[in-house]
């Protein structure tokens, strides 16, 4: 019987992780996977409209990073944000209802898939402007520092954002002002249809960050445990004031950029190869190899996840649309604070 506390090979340093926690990680990733699959179905039935960017394949990054955060830490996502939102703990009901455009949605149905907000969870939304959120995250970290708060600000972005001016301006400001911020680059290889190799002279994003003086390195974005341990390490260093860091997570999206994507820019076998080392498959294989996950347990987890998703759909379908007369609510704040 292997000891309960199993040592997981986690990159530079080994951290202590118990089996229950690993199963929790597995379930979190599965929640995201099944949620995204159901969203694809609902989109083809025209229940979800607008743009839909699925996180399938990158689940380990969101789940891993979020384990290192405290409730009062702040998160800035991207438009591929369902995984970030669910991993951060937003209710699946509200996220699904948001995509149905209902008033019970996380943003009263006004934002849709790309603009999920939940201030109680310190989740400051997706942002449909590539790199648009980077300066915001820097600003929030500046505010935390000015108010002597020990919170960490995490800012997710894809490797595509690296080409925007805001990436340069934000990393410089973060290091210049020694701000408590963790930049997380989800390097999935493609900015919509543009491979990294044909858009960036320096393809190792963490090296760019090092040039600004940030602590930065890359991890296997498919290994949720490695992501979690790296994130914890950086968050601890940020909390004791060592300044901003950047974590590059090498990962891959198994679906198109969005739903209307013929994926002419990449080969099918490349997708299959990455799928073979997908984050859920990898962890499931490890758990089964170590007799930590029985077939029944798996079915039980699948059923729990399916029930949560189905309840979310019922909640969303049953919710009201926002009253047209409330259109002006929130254009301006009413009260003088």
């Amino acid at each position: 019987m292997q000891t309960d506390t199993n040592k997981i090979q986690t990159g530079t340093n080994k951290i202590h992780m118990d089996i229950a926690h690993i199963k929790f990680l597995f379930k979190q990733m599965l929640r995201i996977r099944r949620f995204e699959e159901k969203c694809a179905e609902l989109y083809t039935e025209e229940k979800i409209r607008g743009f839909l960017h699925l996180y399938i394949g990158e689940e380990a990054v969101a789940v891993g990073i979020m384990q290192a955060l405290k409730p009062e830490d702040a998160v800035f996502g991207t438009y591929r944000e369902h995984g970030h939102a669910l991993a951060r703990g937003l209710s699946m009901d509200n996220v699904m209802s948001e995509m149905f455009g209902k008033v019970t949605g996380s943003s009263r149905g006004r934002g849709g898939s790309m603009h999920i907000f939940d201030v109680e969870k310190q989740f400051y939304g997706g942002n449909a402007i590539v790199a648009g959120a980077l300066p915001l995250a820097v600003g929030l970290a500046l505010a935390n520092k000015m108010q002597n708060k020990k919170n960490v600000v995490v800012c997710f972005f894809g490797e595509g954002a690296v080409a925007e001016g805001e990436f340069h301006e934000s990393l410089n400001l973060a290091k210049l002002w020694h701000l408590p911020i963790l930049f997380v680059c989800e390097n999935n290889g493609y900015a919509m249809g543009t491979a990294l190799a044909i858009s960036e002279s320096e393809q190792h994003i963490f090296r760019k960050a090092q040039s600004y003086g940030l602590a930065a390195h890359a991890v296997d974005g498919m290994n949720v445990v490695e992501v979690e341990s790296a994130a914890s390490q950086y968050c601890n260093s940020i909390r004791n004031g060592d300044g901003p860091c950047l974590l590059e997570c090498n990962t891959y999206r198994f679906r198109g950029h969005s739903m209307f994507d013929t994926q002419l820019y990449r080969k099918a076998d490349e997708v299959e190869e990455w799928k073979s080392k997908g984050p859920i498959k990898k962890l499931k294989r490890w758990l089964e190899a170590n007799d930590k996950l029985s077939a029944d347990e798996l079915i039980e987890i699948e059923d729990e996840v399916a029930a949560e998703i189905n309840q979310a759909i019922v909640f969303a379908e049953g919710s009201q649309l926002e009253e047209i007369s409330d259109l002006y609510l929130g254009v301006y704040a009413e009260e003088e604070s």
Partner: protein, 331 residues
Amino acid sequence: MINQSLTYREALRIAIEEAMNADERVVLLGEDVGNYGGCYAVSKGLSETFGSNRIIDTPLSESGFVGAGIGAAIGGMRPIVEIMTVNFSLLALDQIVNNAATIRHMSGNQVSIPLVIRMATGAGKQLAAQHSHSLENWYAHVPGIKVLAPATVADARYMLGMALKDPNPVMFFEHVMLYNESATTPAPEDCPDMCSAIVRKIGTDISLVTYGGSLPKALEAARQLAQQDVSVEVIDLRSLRPLDTDTLFRSVEKTHRLLVVDEGWRTGSLAGELCALVAENCFWSLDAPPIRVCSEEVPIPYPKHLEDAVTPQVAKIVEAVLGLLKQEIVS
């Protein structure tokens, strides 16, 4: 020294100092606001008083530091972000429009963004096309932000404090030709609030509506017209969003005529919006078509004689008013 005088620039500095003393959440970010003392010397001396933690010199990264200001406001601060001039604000337009103006509404009224973004605007100092824009109307087009254009020393002195207390993002435009204007030290009652227009001169024959740097020209034109027995009512908008339409309509219903003076280019200008509002709401009181004096639709030229020919001047305003009053029935 009972009523010594105060310049528009000094009024702004006192306002910032007062706000920062009153509330430690108020900080000033911007290019050269610290050691250099501000490119228009508004923040001169402040970094000695408050230190570099609250008077923060930023790199030349408009999108970066304006976005940071917005993020800091989300994080509970009350930042004043100084963009050197409206011309450079174009680099931060995405942060202002897609984040500052949008997030509260798009997040379902959850996120609050209380900040003031100040910048110089307008022509008149021969800085040529790239440094002489008047683009207030671009921002006044966007719901979710407020846009102010203080034209007097009193408004400069007291509007900034009010803007900082407002929980919404507020754009604050300071016309370059106003910085040296001086007046006797204003009292709080000279600036009743931040969003209503003020009738600077009562009149009966025509309503002359303007804002910001054009106010002195409008008042001078009104003075000259008075000598020709034409009674002009001069209205200072002060706020470009929201617009105080009550004061506008009341005046036009009295005078039956409207002339708007706006340093922006005529096409798509704020003046166009005002004429549309009056045509929609005061049609039955109009006795002449609402007209505008705006800048000629050319990039603002460097040489003085051309710059003056392009931008609204007193003579143009007087001529427009007289033209309107003498206008026979248009066939």
